[in-house]
Amino acid sequence: MFQKILVAIDASERGQLVFDQALQLAQATSAHLMLLHVLSSEEEGSPNVSIIGLEYYPSIADEIVQMHQKQWVEYENRGLKMLRSHAEQAAAVGVAIEFTQNFGNPGRTICEVAHTWDADLIIMGRRGHSGLNELLLGSVSNYVLHHAPCSVLTVQGIVHADSTTTQDQLADVVL
């Protein structure tokens, strides 16, 4: 059914859920996995030291730039460590897997990799931002949904207890 599944993950708890589902799906369908981690300033945990205006403070500018670079390198390394750990998990259950870590706009990068790697399914988490944040940051899953060259599977995060539905809300139902 699926032969090549692209899994877009981040370092969050949700990322682990996404990977777990992807792994189970790959096992059930004997698919190959490609893990993708997009490094961007939008991701939680990415360094976001502002270096604008530092030219006015030449004495500390260098230090700050160096610290910033160091943080980016650490961020990159954390990402690679996560990817390797997932790859080991997959290998342990006999699933063929590769991984890649790219800088860039998350939505666009996911679609580009899906295109060049010829994925037939993209698995990703829902962005998880609410309301205004979703609107301002743009939703990665919404972008991918409309630009993906293949099917897209979005994994939900933890469902909150208050989202229940009563029979009344089902009044508008179609056969």
């Binding site: 589902q21 979703e134 949904l145 060259p149 897209v152 939900q156 056969l175």
Partner: protein, 179 residues
């Protein structure tokens, strides 16, 4: 992993054994194609997990009006929908997948498709929703359309079907290949 899959269909005139199809217009053709893919993918996904399917036929207000007009009355349209749904259920069973019969509502009512799908998934406790990406020009139906709404509001994993042969390129150009 998946036990109870909700299959959202915009068209149920898709049973392979159904010879009673009216000449479709452009939109209907698109709907048939997408719904056919959605059903095929849902069946394929159900098999390895021995999951069962619940078929949900979702119509917009306009589609209901069109249907009533085409068949003469609301009752006749409902009967026709029942007939088609039965054919589909037979087809799914024939493929070795169990189908849930219990939650069939006999009346035709309109509502927002995305909401209908998500509300049902919540009530029926589905662990996967399979939906198509019908709105190729999505801006026409508002941001995201039905599939966009569902991936945002669904209480569970959502699978948006989009076959590779008929997709747009990452740059967004309209290089659609019709197969």
């Amino acid at each position: 992993m998946y036990t109870n899959i909700l299959v959202a269909l915009s068209s149920i005139q898709i049973a392979l054994s159904d010879h009673n199809i009216f000449e479709p217009n452009q939109t209907e053709r698109e709907s048939f194609r997408v719904s056919r893919e959605v059903l095929d993918e849902a069946i394929a996904l159900a098999k390895p997990f021995k999951a069962n399917l619940t078929l949900l036929h979702v119509l917009t207000e306009k589609e209901i009006q069109d249907g009533i007009r085409k068949f003469g009355s609301k009752e006749k349209f409902e009967q026709e929908c029942q007939r088609r749904l039965k054919l589909l259920e037979d087809e799914v069973r024939g493929a070795g997948v169990e189908v849930d019969f219990d939650q069939i509502f006999p009346k035709l009512v309109s509502g927002k498709p995305g909401e209908i799908i998500c509300n049902h998934a919540r009530l029926w406790k589905n662990d996967l929703i399979v939906v198509g990406r019908r709105e190729r020009h999505f801006h026409l139906l508002g941001p995201g359309g039905v599939s966009g709404y569902v991936i945002y509001h669904a209480p569970c994993t959502t699978f948006v079907v989009n076959s590779k042969a008929s997709s747009i390129s990452p740059e967004g150009a309209n290089s659609v290949v019709v197969h």
